[in-house]
Symmetry: C2
Subunit: 168 residues, 2 copies
DNA sequence: CGCTACTTTCAGAAATTTGTGAAGTTAAGA
DNA sequence: TCTTAACTTCACAAATTTCTGAAAGTAGCG
């Protein structure tokens, strides 16, 4: 089994790559992510350089440029990939920053905030002294607690990571 | 039709309830949950007793018994509601245990485990010494870290909750 | 300035998901 | 045992989502 370096033409066992990509994407889908973003993300994760062009993605996943465009837009919004322009070309590369992306995954912050807002409204409109209001207030407190804890956890991860894998 | 369960107390404004239910459900949907389970869950959360019968749910949400059945099956699988048989009736009640349910929400444990499995396979099949393999190994390490942290966090929440809201 | 190489947008076809009515199943109570 | 209230399952219609091809935009380079 030969391990080709990637610089020029990454001819890695395409079947092994594809198997991983589809398998991991399937798990992400099951967790609620849309299929195409999940596949694109998995493909990037499985690339040696951590970045691929739009054309490469379309080729590898057998989908149209339009599909890649849509998926990438979504991923960029979620901060799960970065877009970078290749200097001297209008070709774009999409990249998983090994740090960045899992922060994004935990970064349900925006989601949590909206849940909290909805709950706060519920507590007010149903009455803080009603049983339902009390239950919702407790739920709200839980999310607020989680918010803070997640931040602290990510900080610990950064430390742990540097110890284990070296430089940031 | 002895259904006036939420007896006593001030009349609840059905419109306020509905507004909360639909609003909160919408947020859950946006985060990846299916619509009907989200609505059912929100309705339970907003009920004073914390539990409703299948008929009450169908009535309040304007959906068929079949839809309620499906939604409730899903929620029970996710441990987000408990089913209880009313003694002396085949009527069933669905309940949010104020503790239980947010544990379930954080309880992505099963999900995380499957992600980890997929990543482990990827590391093996692409080679632990390849750049892609290393990236996936780091990702895997992150999830393993999160697993442990979540457990610890829930423990801290239990303590915090008892201090703030009293008895479990 | 316009050519060309990419990317994005958009309307609609195709696939998937969702909810319904109706039939099927189960168990309480007579 | 039979009746009947209640939940569940199933096939299908409706709604929604997803992907595509084609047209339109955008920016480097001659």
């Amino acid at each position: 089994m030969t391990e080709r370096a990637e610089a020029a033409g990454p001819e890695r066992d395409p079947e092994a790559v594809s198997k991983f990509v589809e398998g991991f994407a399937a798990q992400l889908v099951e967790a609620g992510m849309q299929r195409m973003p999940a596949r694109v993300f998995a493909a990037l994760l499985a690339s040696d350089s951590g970045s691929l062009t739009s054309a490469q993605l379309g080729e590898q996943l057998q989908v149209s440029p339009a599909a890649v465009s849509g998926a990438v837009r979504y991923l960029a919004q979620q901060h799960m990939v970065a877009r970078e322009r290749e200097p001297g070309s209008r070709r774009e590369r999409y990249r998983v920053h090994s740090n960045q992306w899992y922060e994004a995954l935990t970064n349900r912050e925006a989601v949590l905030k909206r849940w909290e807002a909805a709950l706060r409204e519920g507590v007010t409109s149903l009455g803080a002294e009603t049983p339902a209001g009390r239950r919702m207030a407790e739920t709200l407190a839980f999310f607020e607690f989680v918010d803070e804890e997640i931040a602290a956890m990510m900080e610990r991860w950064r430390v742990h990571r540097e110890k284990t894998f070296g430089a940031p």
